[in-house]
């Protein structure tokens, strides 16, 4: 096991990248602690798979270094990095039993048979595969097969990191949460570094202690699920995480205060001194969870109320700007609708970035 460090790693699939857009992965610096659970989260094309392939060694970065502990592995081929990978589609030997599937990587390395048996038993216990050890892999359901893929990764004791590439894609929705929780539990029990690539916020937020949110080849935020929810560093994070996403409202900054719909709006972050005088596009970000009907608030027109069962999603408009809020069961939409924002969770963004924070 080892700490993993990426130093100024960047990648372009073009021979001579010129423009910003030519880089699939813009220069990043990152450190993954030994034993941590990380998720790389972003929409397709955001660079997360490129980053994963660079760490696993399937791809040589255009520039930068990768270190496992103190060892520079930038030029080390994948099979010598001691990485276990679990892919979208389970990779199993259909004709072998579950036991032999799990034993395969161990026997390959010449482990004594008694030791193989003990190790396979441990892994099977971890993954609830004991009852099917004698079953042929081909007879298992998709989630069972994916557990075997996972188990083979875990079987080896010398693994530096386990990487998951959208591992739940082929799993039935009703079984997804079980496997998702199993992975989390597994991480807590064995303490191996795990990196999980996904476009699904629930998978990322549930699994990881630290979520790396990527957008257009760049890392826009690294944070705990609570941080991503309560204090998105970039409007993309606010939009991408959460359903419905964060409201992003064009605003002005005057005399050191954010103004929206003709009123000063209190924010959690202070507008930097530099902005307000022709310095960038200013926006307020506030999640629907933190918008309330308030008698002294901003007048709005309610355009639609969608019943989502546990809450209603209210769509309102302040002038031309749409604003959403959540309404609990039994809460009414007032006739004279006015909205207030919770200042602890209302943030000012300049050119997409949380004001007062250095950009990436």
């Amino acid at each position: 096991m080892a700490r993993i460090r990426l130093e100024r790693v960047a990648h372009s699939y073009l021979a001579s990248p010129r423009r910003e857009a030519d880089w699939a992965l813009k220069e990043i610096d990152m450190e993954w602690a030994d034993g941590g659970a990380y998720a790389l989260l972003g929409p397709s094309g955001c660079g997360k798979t490129t980053l994963l392939n660079i760490v696993s060694g399937l791809l040589q970065p255009t520039s930068g270094r990768i270190l496992f502990g103190e060892r520079d592995v930038t030029a080390t081929p994948p099979d010598r990095r001691n990485i276990a990978q679990v892919f979208q589609f389970p990779v199993v030997y259909d004709t072998m039993s579950v036991h032999d599937n799990l034993a395969f990587p161990l026997r390959n390395r010449g482990m004594a048979e008694a030791e193989v048996r003990a190790r396979v038993r441990d892994i099977a216990a971890l993954l609830d595969l004991e009852p099917v050890l004698g079953t042929r892999a081909t007879n298992l359901s998709a989630d069972g097969k994916q557990k075997i893929s996972l188990g083979r990764g875990l079987a080896r004791a010398d693994v530096n990191v386990i990487m998951f590439d959208e591992p739940l894609t082929v799993i039935d929705p009703h079984l997804k949460w079980r496997l998702r929780s199993k992975l989390k539990e597994l991480h807590q029990r064995i303490g191996l570094t795990m990196v999980y690539v996904t476009h699904d916020q629930t998978e990322a937020m549930t699994f990881a202690d630290q979520v790396v949110v990527m957008h257009e080849g760049a890392v826009v935020q690294v944070g705990t699920p609570v941080e991503l929810f309560e204090r998105p560093r970039h409007t993309f994070v606010g939009h991408f995480i959460g359903s419905p996403g964060m409201n992003i409202l064009p605003c002005e900054v005057r005399d050191g205060a954010a103004r929206f719909a003709g009123r000063a709006v209190a924010t959690a972050n202070a507008p930097g001194a530099a902005i307000g005088r022709g310095g960038g596009r200013a926006e307020l970000g506030v999640r629907p969870e933190f918008v309330r009907f308030a008698a002294d608030g901003i007048p709005v027109e309610v355009t639609r109320v969608a019943d989502a069962g546990r809450h209603r999603i209210v769509e309102a408009r302040a002038g031309e700007t749409p604003i959403r809020l959540l309404l609990g069961e039994g809460e009414a939409v007032p006739a004279d609708a006015r909205l207030g924002f919770d200042p602890r969770f209302t943030h000012l963004y300049v050119d997409g970035w949380l004001a007062g924070e250095a950009t990436a």
Partner: protein, 350 residues
């Protein structure tokens, strides 16, 4: 037009896939079929479309028995979870194809394709071939084609299941609006209760080949007639436990109890409590309990916690993202005023 299934049964090789079903879908309405995988949603849609013939019973459409009318002779458009496009046509021609078949003029085709493409965010890709698109874009192309013509019956079988959730979020909102101004009767199959709610309209809940309830979506959700309906229409799964009602109290096997609803006779019942009616302590609503956290699941904007209480697993869903340390004890509140009670046969009794 009204679509009616009258005593429809579907059997394959001696196995009954759809038990006797009577269902009348509102003309021009947006109807949701809600059920898990293998509940019979796809089979029911095939029967509606004429892709499968019922073993017994009839299918009526617009006051006409269409049971024996083949699918080609019905004005039906369909979208399935696995999308199909014409590989040699551009996206534009893919979307335009049903309009061309219908003999629409070029100007009308352009207008319609333009509008649908805009809605499905396909405008930049109109000149491309399907193979040059991402999976999501290919699926949107197939969806656009199905929406291009004004079919009397539109069947959508989990059309958003393979799309990423941000796109799904937008389309889920747009779809009912898109059909609102048209006369098509829409049937939309989904396995996701939350999606059914947001789509609105009417919902039929389906369980193992039987329609358990049909009515306005919000009503089926809030007033399920039986336990199966409540279970089908709850994600995360509704909390279910045995309770005993004696005198003025109902109690769980572990002893946690609360005042009984007046309408309930003494006896044993199953209580159902939706996960969002089990909240982390704080609101002061309902019965306070202490549980051991087993699993914490975090969506983008909600926290789902599984905890153990007297040997039973309960699920709590709360707004916002909260950290719950797994294995540790935490306090929750059961909002028992919202509890539903079911009798031995599963029928709702309180």
């Amino acid at each position: 037009m009204t679509l009616a299934l009258k005593g429809v049964v579907h059997r394959v090789a001696g196995r009954t896939h759809i038990h006797q079903t009577d269902l009348e879908l509102e003309a021009g309405g947006f109807n949701v079929l809600l059920g898990t995988t293998l509940a019979g949603k796809t089979t029911l849609m095939q029967l509606m479309a004429g892709l499968a013939a019922p073993s017994a019973g009839q299918v009526w459409f617009g006051g006409r028995d269409v049971t024996r009318v083949p699918v080609q002779k019905r004005n039906v458009s369909m979208v399935f979870q696995q999308f199909i496009n014409y590989p040699n046509f551009s996206v534009y021609e893919n979307i335009a194809s049903p309009l061309r078949v219908a003999g629409e003029l070029d100007a009308a085709v352009r207008l319609r394709v333009g509008k649908i493409a805009e809605l499905l965010q396909l405008t930049p890709f109109l000149d491309r071939r399907p193979a040059e698109l991402s999976g999501g874009q290919q699926q949107r192309t197939a969806l656009a084609r199905a929406l291009a013509k004004d079919a009397e019956l539109v069947l959508l079988d989990e059309p958003l299941a393979n799309l990423d959730y941000k796109l799904r979020e937008g389309l889920r909102e747009e779809l009912p609006r898109l059909f609102a101004g048209r006369n098509s009767t829409v049937v939309y199959a989904t396995s996701e209760p939350y999606e059914a709610l947001l789509l609105g309209g009417s919902t039929a809940t389906l369980h193992e080949g039987r329609v358990t309830q049909y009515g306005p979506t919000g009503e089926v959700y809030r007033a399920p007639v039986d336990l199966l309906t409540a279970q089908v229409f709850s994600d995360p799964p509704i909390n279910v436990a045995r309770v005993e009602k004696r005198g003025e109290r109902v109690a769980l096997p572990g002893g946690v109890g609360w005042p009984a609803p007046r309408s309930l006779a003494d006896g044993d019942y199953t209580v159902g409590l939706r996960p969002h009616h089990v909240a982390p302590a704080g609101a002061g609503r309902g019965v306070a309990v202490q549980g051991r956290v087993l699993i914490a699941e975090i969506t983008g904007s909600e926290s789902v916690v599984h905890f153990e209480l007297d040997g039973l697993t309960w699920v709590s869903l709360s707004r916002g993202i909260h950290a719950f340390p797994v294995g540790e004890s935490a306090r929750f509140e059961l909002d028992v005023a919202r509890a539903m009670y079911f009798g031995a046969d599963g029928a709702r009794v309180g």
